[in-house]
Amino acid sequence: MARIAAGDREALRQLYQATSAKLFGVALRILSDREDAQDVLQEVYLTVWRRADRFDEARASVMTWVSAIARNRAIDRLRARGPLARAEPVEGLEIADEGALGAEALLSAADDSGRLGACLSELDKRTETAIRTAFFEGLTYEALARRMDAPLGTVKSWIRRGLARLKGCLER
């Protein structure tokens, strides 16, 4: 990363080789569109090129850092598509009906192993799904509340409590 910050293109190419399949996968998972995902991939490496000097290895691993940039960029793009991109019917969604809530999020439930996955699965299903959906689709509280057909304050308290429990569980 220090070499990239110093303007070394070869170092950026090596980072690309090591991380691009992961980042393209992340962008594709969030956007479900190869062209958009490729644009995001390009934005990510241009961002890394410009901001490599801000990378702090004490705070995050390289993979975590670049994955977070990829997720943020993909979510920015998803949000930029506007409400039309989510023109799925809201009516008829029951809170208890997890199937309607982010199939995306549910799909990933089986994928991530390890402690976070275990801790997430300890939450009630509704909270787990809300957290996963927020993470992978960049839904704000307002959008989540609409999607879940639940009052904003209720959704906030589910998520806040869920996050607090996650932290407790991860620290055990």
Binding site: R29, T140, L163
Partner: protein, 235 residues
């Protein structure tokens, strides 16, 4: 499962920001706080790290062939270093950064940098603000470091598809010499070879002309209108 401890307000905000559930204005406020409050920034980073294993489960997908070549073509030429260098040299000397919101935001997000000047450096640094003759607004800022033999140029021009912006130096003899192209909104460091360096003296004129892509077909004079002009002076 037990209730578990509540998160403090600041930690809840950090977790919500990392998760991405804040609305636009709340998110902007949280970003601003990350920039000025290291404790909050550390909490956000901690939550990003906590949540990042969610991404581990996402399968890898090989990007399309040619994706790297596209990225490599889009890389600006070391602009991070050039801008930092530029700012270190000219902080306080040139009050034109505000003319470009993009440049201003870029600079505002970085901590101050102190540039150590090597002792015994004989030749002084030069700079120039190149202003539009029509509006009087600065369109380019330039600095020349004789020790490095490099001219650092920042363009504040709006996007101008279909044209190239070519920088010229016009020394005392009045004959223009092309120095290179500067894309709108970018900075670049132009190495000055031995033949050009002596022309960069206090009082020499720098000018930028609007040219067809690739620059003026005539290497001895601009072919298009002059967008901005300024004179080099000691800082």
């Amino acid at each position: 499962m037990s209730e578990g401890p509540e998160l403090s307000d600041i930690e809840a905000l950090a977790a919500e920001h990392a998760l991405g559930v804040l609305s636009g204005p709340e998110r902007a406020a949280a970003e601003a706080r990350v920039a000025r409050d290291p404790a909050f920034a550390a909490l956000v980073a901690g939550w990003r790290e906590r949540l990042s294993p969610l991404l581990d489960g996402v399968p890898e997908v090989a990007p399309p062939p040619g994706a790297w070549e596209r990225i490599a073509r889009a890389l600006p030429a070391n602009d991070n270093r050039a801008l930092r260098f530029w700012r270190g040299m000219t902080a306080g000397a040139v009050g034109v950064a505000a003319a470009s919101l993009a440049v201003a935001i870029f600079l505002a997000n970085r901590p101050p940098v102190l540039v150590q000047t090597p002792p015994g450096q004989a030749a002084p640094l030069l700079n120039a603000s190149l202003t539009s003759q029509a509006s009087g607004r600065p369109m380019f800022i330039a600095a020349y470091d004789p020790a490095r033999k490099a001219l650092i140029v920042t363009s504040l021009m709006p996007a101008d598809p279909g044209h190239a912006h070519e920088l010229w130096v016009i020394p005392a003899d009045g004959k223009p010499h092309p120095l290179g192209l500067v894309a709108p909104g970018t900075s670049k460091a132009m190495p000055m070879p031995g033949t050009m360096a002596p022309m960069l003296q206090p009082g020499a004129t720098l000018a930028v002309s609007i040219e067809p892509p690739g620059g003026s077909p005539n290497k001895h004079a601009p072919s298009g209108p002059i967008a901005a002009v300024g004179k080099l002076a000691e800082i």
